[in-house]
Symmetry: C2
């Protein structure tokens, strides 16, 4: 893990006349120079990075963003664009030397337009995910992206990092939920790609260049989002299964019997569930007997009926074939929420079991069981007594492959082996043609790993695009590439 | 319409030594120099273009494609990549002067791998859409792209043009159905982006650059396709409706009640249906009384049951609210196929009503009724007696806005007004922020229209990408840009 390194030198502070020129664009009130007031913009939630800046700018419009970038291009000022600040790989933070200014989108929070008949919504980049979900729900629609940080994270950040989350199995990633973008380019021009069309084959699809580029190729200022009909029925089951193989077979069966109605499929091991039972007050085991693994399966549908029959059909056929040891179907919204609270508590409770070494990896869905078996054995051989707690979005092949420290080991000693464990896990990921960042992105944290895992031709193409779209290197330098 | 122009000069034929060097890559047998043997590679199905080439090459592997492009880059030889040759805008054809060679992917027809548990299939670019559908069906999966030319068109061509078709309303366009690509770049390097991962956030998403780029940025040689569970139930209804407004309201209602189970939603006017009744033997009107407009609505689901109830619920609620005049639900596969035959005959029968002026446009779904009303009035004012027959994929806002000639007009006189009519129609498309090419692409036919409809910033970005990815301009020159 790239723990904060001591800074050998600080960058010279931004010259006062330049601070004034940038501040004039947004107004003094929205230009933050006081280090105390800047604090909320300088942190990540794991406190991995200690960062500095001369200036935080909070533009109120796309035109102001464009004016800032134009001035930055003229004066070679480097910019870190920032949404809700919930990134997990340091992509939203300046470096320790304080050479970059921060451009926060958090004042751009307008729902610009919403069209239920067309199933589309146009929003500012600074709208939070929760706001976007709420605006859709008000017109009986669903904006289906759903991640834990939804109260803080923004649409612009979601798109810049191509966020995933728990409903991606049915609805796709943030990339799949967008029709058009508005982007400020590295020279300050505005690209108005706010298309509201489902079909448009008039040339290269530029929006995908900026989605997932973590602000290194342009700054997303607005987006046209795709909405879905609000589900009229939802069914959830908590299922005890004998193994990851059985989980995969159950997932396949569920999709064969319910197709895109399978809107969530999470998998977790018994030991992690025990952490939850131990540390989260009020959580009870929905089943009478323990199982080695669990699945949380959710179906949802715009149709009024038929879903209970479908989930029962999936479960009873799973029982018959030995894929399932025991299962409980939620009989109320409260019970469904209780199932999801178990899943959502899994990150938090690991903190209470000492040090954690974490990975956000993916492999082809069908390879998940073999990947877990091989990686578990390798980790336990490397560090006897470590507690492996791989869990996550089985439907997307996305496993948060985490290890909690051995009970008898010192936390610092354990964390000191991060790079060694990571190399082991990522090595096996590579063997399965997987990804070392399934949904969190590269940011700063994984930047140095990229050359080790990317095809050189692909890296070269990425560098070519960066060089041509941001020739002065002012947009989020030192991230991704 | 860009009718073939007389050629003022022919390009000098490719020097014999170069013909030999290119032919040696694929073997003499797969290098076609005889003009008669070349004919199948030089045509489009509307016979709009009369084209020439010195050489058609039929490589059998990605390595051979790469070797051809490398030699072309060294010798400044221009290449037209070609799939099944079913394009409608001339994107797959060389120019009249014969300066370009053709690189056909039609020998690369391997299904490389298929993984039902992971819902993925890896194929060569030259696999036909029908082959891809069949390979998926063999393992109880669905490759849901579906277009009229499926017996001839290829996966590589579908991806290069981002094909749409009748199931896009539920499953998306070709772009949405791909996880990874293999592409030969303009310098002959191979980019192996054949990812089989649902989630991978390790840098820029390069595949979307090549999808829909019509072979101008690279040559797609292989693809990883997403599969869906095969539907277990399908219901289709032929519905008479009073107006496009009612069609739109019915679509909205169907999606609210059935979500992504709405796998087809086509709309067509009575006059076009009458062309079908008149010219297609064996077609009968499924309804007793005529309606001014019709919808063909199809629901499909991986679930075994419940769909008949859902389609009945949609139709009865539509009746109650006056959205529907009459409707027939298909009671057998034969009847469902009969409904689709009506829809599929609509292009063909127009030929038998004289000259046709055609457009492939889209507007935001909610704007379709207003767009049709305004355009119909404008066309009828411009050319009294013309028969407007707008039809197509309402669920995607994609209207094939076609006009059949007035009964009392000479065909040539009518077709002579193509540019005038097109300017009128495209002008109204622009007013509704629509697209002048919803699904067919730009190719040669619409290339000169692009600067008139694209934001200059976007055009500039497209040119920048073309210049950096194909600096010598050897890949499909004179197409798109």
């Amino acid at each position: 893990m790239p723990l904060p390194k001591p800074v050998d030198h600080l960058a010279p502070p931004l010259p006062q006349d330049l601070v004034k020129r940038f501040s004039a664009i947004v107004g003094e009130r929205y230009a933050i120079t006081d280090p105390d007031d800047q604090q909320p913009y300088l942190k990540d939630w794991r406190d991995l990075y200690v960062t500095r800046t001369s200036l935080v700018l909070r533009p109120g419009s796309t035109e102001e963003v464009a004016a800032i970038v134009k001035l930055a291009a003229e004066t070679d000022t480097k910019i870190v664009p920032q949404g809700g600040g919930t990134g997990l790989v340091g992509g939203h933070l300046p470096h320790e030397d304080g050479a970059e200014i921060i451009l926060s989108l958090n004042r751009m929070t307008r729902i610009r337009a919403i069209d239920p008949a067309g199933n589309i919504m146009t929003v500012d980049a600074g709208v939070t995910l929760q706001q976007a979900q709420d605006a859709a729900a008000e017109v009986n629609r669903l904006y289906p992206l759903n991640i834990g940080s939804k109260g803080s994270c923004t649409v612009g950040g979601n798109l810049s990092t191509n966020a995933g989350g728990t409903q991606a199995v049915a609805y796709g990633l943030a990339r799949d939920l967008v029709l058009g973008l508005e982007v400020v380019l590295a020279d300050g021009r505005i690209w108005n790609g706010l298309r509201t069309l489902k079909k448009d084959n008039t040339g290269y699809d530029l929006k995908h260049l900026f989605i997932g580029a973590e602000g290194t190729l342009g700054i997303i200022t607005g987006a046209v989002l795709k909405l879905s009909p609000a589900p009229r029925s939802i069914e959830a089951a908590w299922v005890g299964v004998p193994s990851p193989e059985a989980s995969l077979a159950l997932l396949t069966r569920a999709q064969e019997k319910a197709g895109p109605a399978v809107s969530g499929f999470e998998m977790m091991p018994r030991n992690l569930f025990e952490f939850v039972l131990k540390h989260m007050p009020g959580v009870r085991d929905p089943l009478a007997q323990p199982s080695p693994w669990y699945c949380l399966m959710e179906l949802s549908s715009a149709a009024a009926g038929g879903l209970r029959e479908t989930i029962e059909e999936i479960l009873s056929s799973g029982f018959e074939d030995g894929l399932i040891e025991d299962a409980a179907i939620a009989d109320s919204i409260d019970q469904r929420n209780a199932f999801w609270r178990i899943r959502e508590g899994m990150s938090e409770v690991q903190k209470q079991e000492g040090g954690s070494i974490k990975h956000d990896v993916s492999v082809p869905v069908a390879s998940v069981p073999a990947f877990i078996a091989e990686t578990n054995a390798a980790c336990e051989a490397l560090m006897p007594g470590c507690r492996v707690v791989p869990f996550g979005h089985l439907g997307d092949g996305n496993i948060h492959y985490n290890l909690s420290q051995p009970l008898d080991m010192d936390k610092a000693t354990f964390l000191g082996r991060w790079d060694e464990v990571q190399a082991l896990v990522h090595g096996i990921v590579g063997k399965y043609h997987g990804s070392i960042s399934a949904e969190h992105g590269i940011g700063r944290m994984k930047r140095e790993l990229l050359p080790g895992v990317k095809d050189p031709v692909e890296l070269d193409l990425m560098r070519t695009l960066k060089a041509v779209l941001d020739p002065k290197g002012i947009l989020n330098p030192g991230k991704v590439l």
